[in-house]
């Protein structure tokens, strides 16, 4: 189950079970599970997508055809930019994660603040990465390494952008949910469902964003540390 979802309804303070509410509960429960399953599956698919570039990296590096994997004379990307981009993503994930622990304690405002901060950091990472790609000190096809770098980073940027859009929708959604709902079961099914769906979505997002932070570290190691 998702980390934040409270136990399924049927709890006494909700209206009595009817055929309709029974089914609504059934599909609600399924939807929560679907979010949980879906994000993990998405992480699997993304791993194969990023894995494609990691494979290219190691394959070309091990072949080093014509000594052109990363020849001495050819410049690489600026180390500071790489470190900053990685740090922005990682810090953003951390901030959001800390916020998540706060929202579980009904501190909705704390999460909102951390989420906005995480969003800004994530967008800054995107901006910096795009800036770096637009101001390359080397030509994309000048070596095997430069090809993988120029190919892989935009993919990462696109995925991060998608994650940031998701975060933005979460920030918009949480506005209408009263803080108290995060600790106490709301009085109607509709409200309870909405809160639980939000929580499921939020924890799914957290899985994705933490995963992307790991990817950011891997890419940083590959492109800036050990290149």
């Amino acid at each position: 189950m998702s980390e934040t979802a409270t136990p399924p309804p049927g709890t006494p303070d909700l209206p009595a079970l009817t055929r309709e509410s029974e089914e609504a509960n059934f599909f609600h429960e399924a939807a929560l599970n679907a979010t949980w399953t879906g994000v993990r599956l998405a992480v699997g698919a993304l791993s194969f997508a990023f894995g494609c570039f990691v494979f290219a990296y190691f394959y070309l590096r091990s072949l080093n055809s014509h000594g052109m994997w990363h020849p001495a004379g050819v410049k690489g990307p600026q180390p500071w930019a790489g470190a900053v981009i990685m740090a922005l993503v990682v810090v953003s994930a951390l901030v959001q994660y800390v916020g998540l622990t706060r929202i579980k304690a009904s501190k909705k405002g704390a999460w909102q603040a951390s989420a906005v901060l995480a969003l800004v950091l994530g967008l800054a990472a995107i901006g910096l990465q795009v800036w770096e790609l637009l101001n390359l000190h080397f030509f994309p096809g000048s070596s095997g390494f430069s090809s993988v770098f120029v190919g892989a980073t935009p993919v990462f940027v696109i995925v991060v952008l998608a994650a940031m859009i998701w975060l933005e929708t979460l920030i918009m959604r949480v506005r209408v949910i009263p803080a108290i709902s995060f600790v106490e079961q709301p009085p109607t099914y509709a409200e309870a469902f909405a809160v639980q769906r939000f929580q499921a979505s939020l924890s799914a997002f957290t899985v994705l964003w933490n995963y992307l932070a790991v990817v950011a570290i891997v890419f940083w190691v590959l492109f800036y540390l050990t290149a």
Partner: protein, 314 residues
């Protein structure tokens, strides 16, 4: 499959025939005849013939696999035909069939038998691959299966859009459009390309190896009979892929020596203009390595028909 379950009387009181035995008796002659035909009648004519060691290996591989496949195929087909005839639905019979959900013994037997067949095929394939020095398939630039004995005859095969040329480094490195090989000698093909991926396929010799740009791909064979060899390209390489065909010759050793001697002197002037013999070439060598065509009154070589694969520098 056959020995599935017992022989219970059906509704009419007639004893149920032993289906398993019947299917077995139908299958046995079919499988036997098929195998005998494959081994004795068809086998010696199976492609790609036996002109070289590698071709003979491939022929025997195809033959042996056919001998193994035929009974399996016959079993499924005989069983299927039997089932469709005997177990078809009869008019007016609205009963469902017997509720058999499975049979562990049958399943285990099936899995066991197919596993044995398949594993023995894998072992067999590996042995056949190692035996005649890679069975004529491209082995990359550091072949692990090589022929025993001294250095084999070196023949470089250069693919380019859309011709094959050959260089003979042990005879001064001349380049020609005709493939000439002596009978009874080990041959090492060094296959490369100047533009895109081609695949050198000498049908009767049972040799097939991709010609990759900037990569040397080695294949071995040993011609055992004289005769003609069809050379084709087996990897789509663009517009005139279908026309990358030539005919090679396997000749006696003395004829081969005579041919190299003449070719060497006749082509001496051209050889001087060629880039020195290497295992791979810079694509810019296309112009020089294509000269042999003009000499031969041919056109079409030169690569770069499409664009360049090289990034432009803005």
């Amino acid at each position: 499959m056959p020995a599935a379950d017992g022989t219970v009387a059906d509704g009419a009181g007639r004893p149920e025939p032993n289906h398993g035995l019947r299917i077995f008796l139908l299958w046995l002659p079919v499988a036997l005849v098929a195998d005998l035909l494959i081994w004795f009648v068809w086998g010696p004519h199976l492609p790609p013939g036996a002109m070289s060691t590698s071709a003979a290996t491939q022929q025997s591989a195809i033959k042996i696999m056919s001998v193994m496949a035929a009974p399996v195929m016959a079993l499924v087909l005989v069983y299927g035909a039997y089932a469709l005839v005997v177990w078809r639905h009869r008019e007016g019979d609205d009963e469902d069939g017997p509720p058999i959900h499975g049979n562990t013994r049958v399943s285990v037997t099936w899995i066991g038998v197919t596993s044995v067949i398949v594993l023995s095929l894998a072992v067999f394939g590996t042995v056949e691959l190692a035996g005649p020095a890679g069975a004529g398939a491209g082995e990359g630039n550091t072949p692990i299966w090589r022929p025993s004995g001294g250095t084999p005859l070196q023949v470089q095969v250069i693919g380019q859009q859309w011709r094959w040329t050959y260089r003979y480094p042990q005879f001064g490195g001349f380049e020609t459009t005709s493939l000439m090989l002596p009978v009874g000698e080990n041959v090492q093909f060094n296959i490369t390309s100047l533009d895109v991926i081609h695949s050198f396929w000498a049908y009767q010799l049972g040799v097939k190896a991709d010609a990759n740009p900037d990569i040397n791909n080695v294949a071995y064979t040993k011609p055992e009979h004289t005769g003609q060899v069809q050379v084709r390209c087996a990897e789509l390489c663009g517009l005139w892929h279908a026309d990358m065909t030539t005919v090679g010759q396997v000749v006696s050793l003395s004829a081969f020596n005579a041919w190299t001697a003449t070719a060497r002197t006749q082509l001496a002037a051209l050889t001087k203009e060629l880039p020195p013999y290497t295992l791979t070439y810079d694509p810019n060598a296309v112009a020089q390595l294509g000269k042999v065509f003009q000499k031969a009154g041919l056109s079409g070589a030169g690569g770069g028909f499409y664009g360049s694969q090289y990034p432009v520098q803005p």
